[in-house]
Subunit: 228 residues, 2 copies
């Protein structure tokens, strides 16, 4: 049995987790050699950045050598988690024996803060991408980035694309297409794709710095490393 | 304050709920005249069709004249919910004063079973679309279908497109584009869009019939209405 473990912690962006969770759960339906679990410190429901609370299926202690580990991201709470040594140790421990270590959105900052992305190419939410370099990774502005066992996705919704990439790699393109059909992932953004040329990235930088400063006010050295 | 209420019940497909929930939560961040809630019978975490459990922010009794109501779908548990008079009454009550009544995936079957889609154009998951006609609605094979206050989305991932449509309608295209940017919804399905010409819909019909039969074994009249 190959276990695909999603890491849950307080305050995440739920779509970061649920997009790839739904994809991998359909893979497990088609191929029972995979099982999907959601792991957190305890089994209690956790707040997210929406009014929905999420409760895991397993505690971290119950995780047994997962085949794949996927870390979702979020806003301030994820920035704060970069200084949560307990969570980072859980991520390192789960990743140690995993053949696939993935992230969605700012989840890659946690992989990097855990020391797992040294010199690795990786991506993140577009507004936080530059922070990866401060943590030793090589930021790449692509939607899904593979480097060795690591597969990182851009912001939030990119986790669905990342998981379908992963299904293609693990089970072949035909199965990936079947999963895509089951979740009817045939996107039609009503206003078209993102017009990147019109995005004023500099305008968002103060928002990121403010959120970082609030999240890491008790960790001035990490904050300085990320913002200098 | 305009309340956007998501309806939570046991066994749903979590991406049906979390896709549009994330979109509408970003709308509420940009425009504080909106608030988002997730409502269920009690505040306890509920199982989904994945290992993740979901817990609401409100009970149905705490819902106060929501501006919008959105009903997610699922597999067998949603089919079974078509016979859950208590849930259907909750949906009718919430919808009665709402200006927008939405669904994702087979959530439209619940709107139809609640008697809300009589003669209305609506969509659903591609494999369940034909069932809408048995419940008095007019099935339309499009990704997002508007008819009066009703806005229905096709399967699972279509809820994201539906919610961005809704944001465009409620707050304008510029805000919808900003929300899209925040959740980095710039889809790149790794194997391209769904190739509908290659989908053998008839091959999936027995699966739907089997799931319906198991879910509605105690409700033979409804089962017959849906399968005759």
């Amino acid at each position: 049995m190959k276990t695909v473990a999603f890491v849950l912690y307080p305050g995440i962006t739920p779509l970061d987790l649920v997009g790839p969770l739904q994809v991998m759960s359909v893979l497990a339906f088609f191929d029972p050699s995979y099982e999907v679990v959601v792991a957190a410190e305890t089994l209690q429901p956790l707040q997210t950045d929406t009014p929905l609370r999420l409760a895991p299926s397993h505690t971290f202690d119950q995780l047994d050598r997962p085949y794949a580990v996927i870390v979702p991201g979020g806003n301030g709470p994820t920035f704060a988690a970069m200084a949560d040594d307990g969570l980072l140790e859980r991520i390192r421990a789960a990743a140690a024996t995993a053949e696939v270590v993935g992230s969605v959105c700012t989840g890659s900052l946690l992989l990097a803060a855990a020391g797992l992305l040294q010199g690795r190419r990786a991506t993140s939410h577009w507004a936080a991408l530059h922070l990866l370099a401060k943590l030793g990774a090589v930021p790449v502005g692509e939607r899904v980035v593979h480097d060795g066992p690591y597969v990182t996705a851009a912001g939030v919704a990119a986790g669905i694309d990342m998981a379908l990439h992963l299904v293609g790699r693990l089970a072949g393109e035909e199965t990936a297409r079947q999963v895509q059909l089951m979740i009817e992932y045939d996107p039609q953004p009503p206003h078209g794709p993102i017009d990147w040329a019109a995005v004023d990235r500099a305008a968002y930088a103060p928002l990121i710095t403010d959120t970082l400063s609030a999240a890491l006010s008790d960790h001035p050295r990490l904050l300085e490393r990320l913002t200098r």
